[in-house]
């Protein structure tokens, strides 16, 4: 706060800035990550994952290290995919801080294929890739045939519901009969919700967790959501999106939702404290529900066939081109995504295989889930997987647009008019995409 005084002459400034430039020039190193060797001479492979991908949770890593004693695998898991992807993008731009293996969510696949394919190693020669579902592999294949990731799981859908609450509301509890209630049409699912609400008669429990879950379930039953095949944005005119929006808005305005935000705090206590009766659940959500609803609610949840099949989510594992242990990392990814390991993950936590071979195996088709009242999840999700459209058009900003629509529906849940919410959503999408 004192007087400004002339601190130094021009020469000193020149010297300082020259030194600064030297410093900056010295900072442009290559890729970071591990240097590939640990102190005990083992090859170290690092992985960056998100959510519950089942790789760390089902003991596969330990098994791999047992079978390959000269390798050590280090896994870092981020809870929230949006946060994870932001960090991944930043690191890709900086060219440092990347792991050897990075998880890729399907909503980001297109963007990475379009803008970052050169940073990923080609995995077409990593083991046998013939066992994957054809559409799964095509989502991460560039124009010139480079494969930037191998599929872990896909997201065929069902509806998870609480038997005890259905009983209290005077609805059937058997999974066959429940599936019949809403067979063939998502609007039936909302109708059942109205029945549930009048039958249950307690405001503390909502029929479904969030309007956005219903919205996602509906749009992913079609091959095009936000983009057409030419990569043009069509969210504004696509009837698929409009119908899903309208139905989700109806559910929100009828007070059928718990107004929760999926995968965010609040959703988990909602599961633990039983504040909603149903959730549209892709296969990978089973792990989340059983973990967060906890042992206290074991056997209360069950799984019923959804009105219409769809694929919501699913992931890949990619290897970074500049990884010092590229070959070792490729080997690990090929092993982790091989049919046997995919079967194992499904059996353990319910992430549904993206490998055709795996999903036809007896392990998968005959699988039941103890937590969900011994529901035949293999059968239910297997049937749902067959209904997934063979072609799914992805776009570069799918993930961001999906999040923006979720927020738009939250606006409705908070009492904004649907028109206003739709316009706000549209405006935000244009801002994010152009």
């Amino acid at each position: 706060m004192g007087r400004a005084r002339k601190l130094f002459g021009r020469k000193a400034v020149a010297a300082a800035s020259a030194a600064a430039l030297a410093l900056v020039a010295g900072c442009s190193g290559g890729d970071g990550g591990s240097n590939g060797k640990s102190k005990d001479g083992k090859t170290v492979v690092t992985m960056g994952l998100f959510g519950v991908m089942g790789i760390k949770e089902t003991g596969l890593i330990e098994r791999y290290m047992e079978e390959n004693p000269d390798v050590r695998v280090e896994v870092e898991v981020a809870g929230d995919e949006q946060t994870y992807y932001t960090a991944l993008q930043t690191r890709l731009a900086a060219g440092s801080g990347l792991k050897d293996i990075q998880g890729i969510e399907v909503a980001r696949a297109k963007e990475l294929v379009d803008t970052r394919a050169d940073r990923f190693a080609d995995l077409s020669d990593a083991g046998d890739t013939g066992h994957f579902l054809p559409w799964k592999l095509s989502q991460v294949t560039t124009g010139d045939g480079k494969i930037i990731g191998l599929g872990t799981d896909i997201g065929p859908m069902a509806v998870c519901y609480r038997k005890d609450m259905f009983e209290k509301a005077g609805l059937p509890t058997d999974r066959e009969e429940v599936a019949k209630l809403w067979e063939g049409d998502w609007s039936q699912y909302v109708e059942v919700g109205k029945e549930f609400k009048s039958g249950f008669g307690d405001d503390g429990v909502a029929y479904m967790d969030a309007a956005s879950g219903l919205f996602n379930a509906m749009i992913y039953g079609h091959s095009q959501q936000f983009y057409d095949k030419d990569g043009e944005l069509i969210h504004q005119d696509n009837p698929v999106v409009k119908d899903a929006w309208n139905l989700a808005v109806e559910a929100a305005q009828d007070g059928l939702t718990a107004k929760l935000r999926q995968f965010q705090p609040g959703w988990d206590p909602g599961l633990a404290n039983s504040s909603f009766a149903t959730a549209v659940c892709p296969a990978w959500m089973l792990a989340h529900i059983s973990e967060k609803a906890g042992p206290a609610n074991k056997g209360k949840w069950d799984v019923a066939k959804a009105p219409k099949g769809a694929n919501w989510g699913g992931s890949f594992l990619g290897v970074m081109e500049n990884s010092p242990v590229k070959e070792e990392a490729k080997k690990l990814v090929a092993w982790l995504t091989a049919p046997e390991q995919q079967e194992h993950i499904f059996k353990e936590i319910g992430n549904f295989p993206s490998s055709e071979e795996a999903l036809e195996s007896d392990t998968v088709t005959g699988a039941t889930s103890e937590y969900f009242g011994d529901a035949p999840i293999g059968e239910i999700f297997g049937a749902a997987a067959k209904e997934i459209p063979d072609e799914q058009v992805l776009g570069p900003k799918d993930g961001t647009i999906k999040d923006t629509f979720s927020q738009g529906l939250q606006l409705v849940e908070q009492g904004k008019s649907p028109e206003e919410a739709w316009n706000t959503t549209d405006e935000r999408i244009r801002k994010a995409v152009d």
Binding site: A12, T83, R116, R261, Q264, G266, P269, Q407, G408, Q414
Partner: protein, 345 residues
């Protein structure tokens, strides 16, 4: 404040000339010189010495300025360069010249004005109570009391916790359905407040995180300043019949005025750059957009959203510069106000 004491910082200049070094250093005649002491050419050692005196200070401060230039000044300039272009994060090497296009877009962007207003309101409801509470706390700590050292350390502990940890815990406390705060409010008959979803509750909740973290820190700054006030002033005031309260307002406050100004400056900078608390409070996509309705999106979050969700580096850089200019503007205004108030008093 109609006191007649001159504001701090405008005191006399420090006469910081190094003493004891005169021009002609009597180092005795050089031994090789037989024509007597020459005054035309100073000896080599003298030159060296003078060089040392003149340049050593620069050498000592150079490390800081080199680091500052590399990590603050250069990024500042580079950011301004980026802000004049259309740049995507994925392709930082492809820059399309836009001139001041980003700035005019920002000026017309409702979201920017909303973020600016939010930054201001959250700044006010976090800074004002925080500094007032800090002042009160410091005043209490200034009395002789048992275990004062313990209380002083305790006051600083929130400051020592990380933003992330503090914000996470507060987020759980402010949770809508099963949070402790709503549970407590339920006991006195108040319905659940949607702390995250509604505008003012959200801004209050975020402010509470800031207040919790910084009150103790500012209190200690005030305390240090208070302890530098000579006891005699209080004694004199007491003899004049001043009450405790009068002593506080007439002796303590003027005595720590410069520190108060300093904390206001610090808090203003902090409030303008508020980022971590709302980001973690909102969680995931809502954290980045500052609520579904941008109801608590600050300038920092707007910068992050533009840069790391939409990958529009040019726009993000523009927001960064807007924040910088905003701070400059605030301090220019503050100087003006002070100059006017000293003139009128």
């Amino acid at each position: 404040m109609a006191t007649s004491t001159p504001a701090s910082g405008t005191g006399g200049p420090h006469s910081g000339a190094p003493a004891g070094v005169s021009e002609e250093d009597s180092a005795g005649p050089p031994p090789s010189d037989r024509r007597g002491p020459s005054r035309s050419r100073p000896a080599w050692s003298t030159l060296l010495h003078r060089f040392d005196i003149k340049t050593a200070p620069y050498a000592f401060v150079a490390p800081f300025f080199v680091v500052f230039a590399a990590f603050s000044f250069y990024p500042l300039l580079y950011t301004s360069w980026i802000s004049l272009h259309d740049v995507e994060l994925a392709t930082m090497d492809v820059m399309e010249w836009k001139g001041f296009g980003n700035y005019t877009e920002l000026w017309q962007d409702e979201q920017f004005w909303n973020a600016l207003l939010n930054t201001f309101t959250i700044g006010v409801i976090s800074t004002v109570p925080q500094l007032l509470m800090a002042l009160g706390l410091a005043h209490l700590l200034n009395y002789k009391l048992r275990g004062s050292a313990f209380f002083r350390v305790a006051a600083l502990t929130p400051y020592a916790t990380s933003v992330g940890a503090a914000a996470l815990v507060f987020t759980m406390l402010f949770e809508r359905d099963f949070g402790m705060i709503n549970w407590a409010l339920g006991h006195i008959g108040i319905d659940n407040v949607d702390w995250e979803g509604e505008k003012w509750p959200a801004q209050l909740a975020i402010s509470s995180i800031v207040i919790w973290r910084w009150t103790g820190y500012n209190a200690l700054l005030y305390l240090a300043a208070m302890q530098a006030i000579p006891r005699e002033r209080y004694e004199a005031a007491a003899i004049d019949g001043a009450s405790r309260w009068q002593q506080f307002t007439k002796v303590t406050i003027p005595g720590i005025r410069s520190t108060i100004v300093f904390t206001i400056v610090l808090s203003t900078i902090g409030a303008t750059q508020l980022f971590g608390e709302p980001l973690i409070f909102g969680q995931g996509p809502n954290g980045i957009s500052g609520g579904v309705d941008n109801q608590y999106q600050t300038l920092g979050l707007l910068l992050y959203e533009q840069g790391w969700r939409n990958y529009e580096m040019g726009r993000a850089a523009t927001v960064a510069w807007a924040m910088f200019l905003l701070l400059v503007l605030i301090f220019v205004l503050q100087r003006l106000v002070r100059r006017l108030s000293t003139r009128t008093s």
